[in-house]
């Protein structure tokens, strides 16, 4: 499996400096992103999923520690790569779509100019007119009406949904090996979200590379992804094919989280309380030494004071739980 992986993460650790001391946001993440798959990373706030995306892209904020561990991308160690080579990688082989497209587009440049610029790193020597034409074609492809005219418009002249289409078009123009989408539909209204989900579903057939979709929405991951990575308190607690993990979760956290999902069509006696997970995630200033979920786990026993390993089972699934 590992030879086929496009990206291989081993023991990734990231700390943020805060007033209260260093916070261990990622506490030793190991995972493989195979070629040509769509991997969903889910977790609640504070699980470290967005930090993981930024660490993969090499875009951690200034108060983050130098990441420890290994990031192998197409066999190259990203951790030791120079800043300029890392930067070049972002315009050619890696691309990211952020949650808020407004803050990731430059407000003072026309959309078309920005769409031409993203292609430069990969297409040195290609005429501007040609890059402009490709950008306009891509805008049409992602469903922006009147693409040719709208190329000379500015980000504030686009709606939220249209801006997110522009971001997706920019990411696709790079033809990345790895596309990371961090909550790409969270800021959008339901019917617009549905349009973007449909677009993502469509383009995943065209993209030859791999996609990492970061989301708090289990439903979205169920609809778009092949594999799932469940994170909790800076650790990966479970991985496997989405359908199998959702049908039979092995980690108590995955099980509890799925139990909290409400099916609005199910007829339930109103007096039955809604499921929830009692307690709250651990304070990562002082992360627990054993299993990160133990304090909230209904099945905890003595052994949980030791950290459970994330060992893959014969079927390729893995759960960091002594009972799995």
């Amino acid at each position: 499996m590992t030879e086929a992986a496009l990206l291989s993460v081993r023991g990734l650790e990231v700390r943020y400096a805060t007033d209260r001391g260093p916070v261990q946001v990622l506490g030793g993440i190991s995972l493989d992103i195979p070629q040509g798959t769509v991997v969903g990373i889910v977790g609640e706030s504070g699980s470290g999923k967005s930090t993981l995306a930024l660490a993969l892209m090499g875009l951690l904020p200034a108060n983050a520690s130098q990441p420890a561990g290994s990031l192998l991308f197409e066999g190259d160690e990203l951790a030791t790569l120079s800043l300029s080579r890392r930067r070049r990688l972002r315009g050619t082989k890696m691309a990211m779509v952020f949650q808020d497209p407004m803050s990731s587009l430059h407000p003072l440049f026309a959309i078309g100019t920005q769409m031409v610029d993203v292609q430069r790193a990969k297409n040195a020597g290609v005429a501007r007119g040609e890059l402009w034409r490709r950008a306009a074609a891509m805008l049409t492809r992602v469903g922006v009406p009147d693409a040719a005219q709208r190329m000379s418009r500015y980000p504030h002249e686009f709606s939220g949904g249209m801006r997110q289409r522009v971001m997706i078009a920019m990411a696709l123009l790079v033809e990345p090996k790895l596309l990371i989408a961090d909550e790409p539909t969270t800021a959008l209204d339901a019917t617009i979200e549905a349009q973007i989900v449909e677009l993502l579903r469509d383009i995943r057939r065209e993209i030859r590379g791999s996609v990492i979709l970061i989301s708090h929405s289990l439903g979205l991951v169920a609809e778009l992804c092949d594999q799932i990575v469940v994170m909790y308190a800076g650790k990966v607690v479970e991985t496997g094919p989405v359908a199998e993990v959702f049908a039979q979760p092995r980690h108590p956290y995955t099980r509890a989280l799925l139990g909290c999902e409400i099916d609005p069509w199910q007829v339930v006696d109103a007096s039955i309380p809604l499921p929830r997970i009692p307690g709250s995630p651990p304070d990562l200033v002082d992360p627990p030494r054993g299993c990160v979920f133990a304090a909230r786990c209904p099945q905890r026993f003595e052994r949980c004071s030791e950290p459970p390993p994330l060992t893959p089972a014969a079927d390729g699934r893995a759960a960091a739980c002594w009972l799995a």
Binding site: E44, S45, P145, S159, G161, M162, D189, A190, T191, I192, E193, A194, Q195, V197, E198, H216, S217, L218, G219, L220, A222, E223, A243, F246, A256, L257, L258, C260, E261, I262, D263, P264, W265, V267, V268, A270, P273, L274, P275, R276, I277, S280
Partner: protein
């Protein structure tokens, strides 16, 4: 239905921000003890309506009747009359609590303003405080010293201090993780049972609306396009917009996945709403008549009203 009138009635309400009409001639009745959901996408006017109900926004025209009394009438002008009937539960509990006041002061404040801070009234507040699982030592803390869950409970105690009969909850689970939203909703249910409250829940989260409401009103560009019992509307939406909204809700189980209904284009500007049926430019079933004639809410089945000239097939009867 009993002979009693609705506890709350909105009659042709209009809310404007300058040239923009956020709520456009909306009428709605809320029955005592029910939980009514108000759903729709951003800009549909649901939050404006909620604010108008508690008089945080003025009505440009129309009326709001509480127990049959116009909230702008002389009878309703006493300072404690409106808050004793209807209270808003704010979306962001921490932002709604002043950082410079202790929790005790924050809870006393509404009573003080209405000259209702009596030992009995305070004892009642303390009672709710304990019932919601808050420890007395929290009373002397400041909002930033509370956890998110505690802040939510405190703002609920504060909303209930005037013993309102109706609570308008604006996005009660916004920003909450899946694992803790159940706690908030259970709390709402507990309080409703104990105090026999009527709820108006404003939310874009269809999972929650489907689970906790008795009836649901679907809004689009300042108007109600569908209104009915939650079960009926979720099972057989009559309006094409409702159907698209419900189908857009991502679900876990692949076997229950609905066929997505993709709407054409995006939400038109509320500054210049489309003629006729406001949804017609995005509607796959739109015909000539929809461009010209504005549909009004009418009954298509028992407990279901829709504002559409051509409701979805299979919804009548």
């Amino acid at each position: 239905m009993s002979g009693a009138g609705p506890i709350l009635a909105v009659d042709s309400a209009v809310v404007r921000y300058g040239r923009l009409t956020a709520v456009d001639g909306l009428s709605l009745s809320v029955r005592e003890g029910e939980t009514l959901g108000l759903v729709g996408e951003s800009g549909c006017g649901k939050t404006s309506l909620a604010k108008a109900l508690v008089r945080l926004l003025p009505l440009a025209s129309g009326r709001i009747l509480l127990d049959g009394i116009d909230t702008r009438s002389a009878a309703a002008s006493a300072k404690s009359w409106l808050p004793g009937r209807i209270q808003l539960l704010f979306q962001d509990p921490v932002a709604s609590l002043s950082p410079r006041l202790t929790i005790r002061r924050l809870l006393e404040e509404p009573l003080r303003i209405r000259r209702a801070l009596t030992p009995d009234a305070w004892r009642e507040v303390e009672g709710t405080f304990t019932e919601l699982g808050l420890a007395p030592d929290i009373l002397d803390r400041y909002p930033h010293q509370l956890s998110g869950g505690q802040a939510r409970r405190v703002s609920m105690v504060r909303a209930l201090a005037m013993r309102p009969r109706i609570v308008v909850a604006d996005e009660p689970t916004a920003g909450l993780d899946l694992s803790v939203q159940g706690e908030m909703l259970n709390l709402l249910a507990q309080v409703q049972r104990q105090l026999r409250l009527t709820y108006l829940v404003v939310s874009h989260n269809l999972n929650i609306v489907g689970r906790i409401t008795d009836r649901v009103a679907v809004m689009y560009l300042g108007q109600i396009v569908e209104l009915g019992t939650t079960r009926r509307v979720f099972d057989r939406p009559a309006h094409h917009y409702t159907a698209a909204l419900l189908a857009a809700n991502p679900v876990l189980d692949p076997q229950h996945r609905r066929r997505r209904i993709l709407l054409k284009s995006e939400l038109p500007s509320p500054l210049n709403p489309p003629s006729g049926c406001r949804f017609h430019p995005r509607c796959a079933a739109a015909q000539e008549r929809c461009r010209i004639e504005t549909p009004v809410l009418r009954e298509v089945a028992e407990g279901q009203q829709v504002a559409c000239h051509f409701p979805r097939p299979g919804t009548a009867g």
